[in-house]
């Protein structure tokens, strides 16, 4: 194995031994570069990373001994050392010879510390690659010199560009296996140049390398005298990092935490996203728009004269203005905008497909809001970059869609500011991170379409009817008794001269929602429309009674959010599945059990019972009449 080793890039052994203080001085002034390697095991990706770790002496003797033993046992390089085994960390990966997850590796030279995100190359791991790329300053796209540009090369390049990586290295690997032939290298570079331009990549750095033999990794290779560009490490050591670029942009800092140890100190802590800040700078707090002046930049090591993008600091102001977690502190005369409707690129990362219309948590910077995504405008085929029509997005799908948030968020286009333009979506029930997204722009209508103020107000409507509007939202299994009890409730209210309207599930599906089926996505849209109709009716002063299975907690909560506080009354018609199925008034359970009816709630589609409903009706203990009386008594005490 020793014949393949080149000079280490950590050429500081002599300085370490002779003058450790001088060595430490050099190393405490290093900068840091984060990069991602894109390719598959076949392209020699793990081998390249193993090589970088090995050459920078990040592998110790005991690890090397274990590596040699592993190489002989499960390696793919015969008796030679298999660097790939160094980096494929999880037992499952070593056994299957693939990289499943994102792994982070570290090495350093005299000039820089490097963090490498090692991600798998296959299409089913698109989400892993996007994750690894999100923090990268640079992408190394690996190509097997024998194979040239493949579908996966195009995919990796598209993803790196999508996530905003400006520095791309085209590493044409395994040059040793093509006799270090310049013509092969030139052909690949020409092909790539053409492709790159077509997806908007204007600059990249090509280099001929061999991860296995070490050519053009740490210095110029004798085998490629025709190549005059930098070796990989030289390039990585000198390329500009993102934080340096961010420092030249206008100042923005999302507030993470308000620091208030006593009445005399009030500081706002956060990581500076872009720009620089000094005491005396005029700032504006968004979305409120209040202005003040920075009085101090506080750290445990003493106050600072200036702080720049990438630093975590605590700012104090000269005035006592409102500012809390989620707000953004920005340069007073050049602040970002706030909006609640956007176009965005979305990368779906969950096994369960996206449900247009469903409410998800959206986290952007330190802001957490509720968001709903519309049906995608299109999905992108990540191999061909073609736009495809799509109704939803499933695992690893990338698409463009409009989304709206329940309140205004402070934002910038992702292309200008990763912190104020990059977001994640979180499922409200499972709490899983289901998507990553990048804001393009706010939709004009969010800025220019205002609510039409009408002279006859909702209060006036209600006063005319001499009642307080409300929504009695019945939820429960099919056959629980929702429609029966709802009908009784409406009759009782009518007798009391109350103005009501009953929205029944089956009836609405014959008209307003006749285009919807029973998939999860359609169920979500069904409830959203019913919620909007119910809301209009409460504006008209009515007491609305709805009888829908409405199986998902997140949609019921969405409707609750639409209503005025206190107007949404969730009524859980609680019947055990066995009882509902035994009644089977419409014969639907029988059909569902026999497989004739798909997506039936309680059988092959879940019912999420309310955790804390305003009213719970136990239909086993109560008759329908008793239940209706109880509900009316709760509404009109």
């Amino acid at each position: 194995m020793t014949d393949t080793l080149t000079d280490p890039i950590y050429k500081t052994d002599s300085l370490i031994a002779e003058d450790i203080d001088a060595y430490l001085d050099v190393h405490q002034h290093k900068t840091m570069l984060r990069f991602i390697t894109c390719g598959s095991v076949d392209d020699g990706k793990s081998t390249l990373i193993g090589r970088l770790l090995y050459d920078s002496k990040m592998i110790f003797e005991d690890q090397l001994a274990a590596l040699e033993a592993d190489s002989k046992r499960v390696g793919t390089q015969g008796q030679e050392i298999d660097f790939a085994l160094l980096v494929d960390g999880l037992a499952a990966e070593r056994e299957q010879g693939i990289t499943i997850d994102v792994a982070y590796r570290f090495f350093a030279t005299e000039k820089r510390k490097f963090i490498v995100a090692d991600t798998p190359g296959h299409e089913q791991y698109t989400r892993n690659m996007v994750t690894g790329a999100s923090t990268a300053d640079l992408a190394v796209i690996l190509i097997d010199a024998r194979k040239g540009i493949l579908t996966q090369t195009r995919r990796h390049s598209y993803l790196a560009h999508l996530i905003g990586i400006r520095n791309i290295v085209l590493a044409v690997n395994k040059m040793d296996l093509v006799g270090y032939d310049q013509a092969i290298f030139d052909k690949i570079v020409a092909d790539y140049t053409e492709f790159a331009a077509s997806i908007g990549i204007t600059a990249f750095t090509p280099m001929p390398i061999s991860g296995f033999k070490g050519d053009n990794i740490t210095g110029p290779s004798e085998n490629t005298p025709w190549y005059t560009g930098p070796a990989l490490i030289e390039h990585l050591e000198t390329v500009e990092v993102n934080s340096a670029v961010d420092a030249d942009k206008p100042f923005r800092m999302p507030v993470q935490w308000v620091n208030r140890p006593n009445l005399d100190f009030r500081g706002f802590s956060g990581l500076i996203a872009t720009g620089t800040v000094k005491p005396g700078d005029a700032i504006r707090v968004l979305p409120s728009g209040k202005t003040s002046t920075v009085s101090r930049i506080v750290t445990m090591d003493g106050d600072l004269d200036q702080a720049v993008a990438g630093q975590s600091v605590t700012l104090c102001f000269t005035d006592e203005i409102d500012c809390s977690r989620g707000d953004v502190i920005a340069l007073a005369d050049n602040p970002p905008q706030a909006a609640d409707q956007f176009e965005a690129t979305i990368v779906w990362m969950a096994d369960e497909e996206m449900l247009p219309g469903r409410s998800y948590w959206l986290k952007i910077g330190t802001q957490m809001v509720t968001a709903t995504v519309q049906q995608p405008k299109y999905q992108v085929n990540v191999n061909t970059m073609e736009h495809l029509a799509a109704k939803t997005l499933d695992l690893n799908a990338i698409g463009v869609a409009n989304l709206s948030t329940d309140k205004q968020i402070v934002f910038e286009a992702y292309a200008d500011n990763r912190t104020l333009g990059g977001f994640i979506l979180i499922d409200k029930i499972s709490n899983a991170t289901v998507a990553a997204g990048m804001l393009h722009f706010s939709l004009r209508r969010a800025q220019n379409v205002h609510w039409q103020a009408t002279d006859v107000s909702r209060d006036f409507h209600a006063a005319l009817k001499n009642q307080k509007p409300a929504v009695l939202w019945f939820t429960g299994l099919s056959g629980a008794g929702k429609s029966t009890i709802a009908n009784l409730v409406e009759k009782k209210l009518a007798r009391m001269n109350r103005h009501t309207f009953l929205l029944d599930g089956d009836n609405v599906r014959h008209g307003l929602n006749k285009d919807l089926g029973f998939t999860d996505a359609d169920r979500v849209e069904n409830i959203r429309r019913v919620g909007e109709v119910a809301k209009l009716m409460t504006d008209a002063g009515l007491i609305v009674i709805t009888a829908f299975i409405s199986p998902f907690r997140s949609e019921r909560d969405m409707v609750r959010q639409m209503m005025q506080p206190g107007e949404f009354i969730e009524v859980h018609i609680d019947t055990p599945l066995a009882d509902a199925e035994a009644r089977d008034v419409k014969g639907l359970y029988k059909k569902a059990r026999s497989g004739q009816l798909k997506n039936f709630t309680g059988i092959d589609s879940p019912y999420e019972a309310p955790l804390d409903p305003e009213i719970r009706v136990d239909t086993v203990a109560m008759t329908a009449e008793e239940a209706a009386d109880a509900i009316v008594a709760r509404l009109i005490p």
Partner: protein, 303 residues
């Protein structure tokens, strides 16, 4: 060399760690910092003090004690708790205590009961929903793939194949009742970064990291320090004074020393850079179950 706008690698690492600490405090209900008194814990504690200055860090320190740590570790632990103004919680697994579980007679069971079980018991007892730990990704292969926010089921299990994607510096701290998060704010630091940061910031560490004459015996190729009179000497075994120090600290009967003359921080760093073995090599814990020892332990709830 750098200009005023380009941060050094240590400045970037520090900023990232502080950001993580503040996110957890903002989003978790009841966080705690696991404090093992080693060099990584020392850095993590220092970062916490910086993150919330001038306030003291708004969470307690938890030491899951095995009763077998080095005496010098107990001393520094108590001193640092006092200096930082933080509450120190010390937890010892009562069952392990009652059964007299010890590293000499019980091997792997010792680590399992005192550390793994002890940690679970302590987290359940106090109801902590977020616990900071000082693990680094460069330590071990399964750590390299662990998230900074690492979720644990109600029974503290880890599922490496079902981890949440972590994009940019956006961390999703939401969880169901009973679930908890382990957070690793110094995930992206290397051993060299840790030492350099300790050096630059003059952070107090346990004196055992520095060479001194200490009583030792040699067993199974490991140099063990006779730290107190509970150390059972075998017939004919006599402790020998050697110049030794430790690269990593745990239970003293399980932690191998290295012979060394490095008595200052620069000398320690010098020795680390010139050495040819990795730091966990002195720990018995990683060696069982082939290459997947740590991965298996983590799935069972080890930190």
């Amino acid at each position: 060399m750098t200009d005023a706008k380009t941060l050094t690698h240590l400045e970037r690492l520090e900023a990232e760690s502080i950001h993580i600490l503040r996110e957890v405090v903002s989003e978790a209900e009841k966080p705690v910092m696991l404090y093992s008194v080693g060099k990584d814990s020392a850095v993590m504690l220092h970062l916490a003090r910086k993150a919330f200055y001038p306030s003291p860090p708004p969470f307690p320190l938890l030491h899951v004690d095995t009763t077998w740590k080095f005496q010098d570790m107990y001393k520094l632990r108590d001193r640092m708790a006092q200096e930082s103004g933080m509450e120190l919680l010390v937890y010892q697994n009562q069952e392990a205590k009652d059964r007299g579980i010890n590293p000499f007679d019980h091997g792997a069971l010792h680590t399992d009961m005192w550390k793994t079980e002890g940690l679970k018991q302590a987290l359940n007892l106090y109801g902590f929903d977020a616990a900071f730990g000082g693990a680094r990704r460069d330590e071990e292969k399964s750590r390299a793939k662990e998230r900074i926010f690492s979720f644990r089921t109600a029974s503290h299990g880890w599922d490496p194949k079902n981890q949440r994607p972590e994009l940019w510096n956006l961390y999703n701290a939401r969880k169901a009742k009973g679930e908890s998060i382990r957070i690793f704010p110094i995930s992206n630091w290397t051993e060299l970064d840790i030492w350099q940061y300790i050096h630059l910031n003059d952070i107090p560490i346990v004196p055992l990291y520095f060479s001194a004459k200490r009583p030792t015996v040699e067993r199974d190729g490991m140099l063990l320090m006779v730290d107190d009179d509970r150390f059972p000497l075998e017939p004919g075994e006599v402790p020998v004074e050697r110049s030794i120090r430790f690269r990593t600290l745990g239970c003293y009967p399980l932690t191998g020393a290295v012979e060394s003359e490095a008595a200052t921080l620069p000398e320690v760093i010098q020795e680390m850079l010139l050495t040819t073995t990795s730091e966990r090599q002195g720990r018995a814990i990683d060696k069982d179950a082939g290459g997947a020892g740590m991965e298996k332990k983590k799935q069972e709830g080890y930190f």
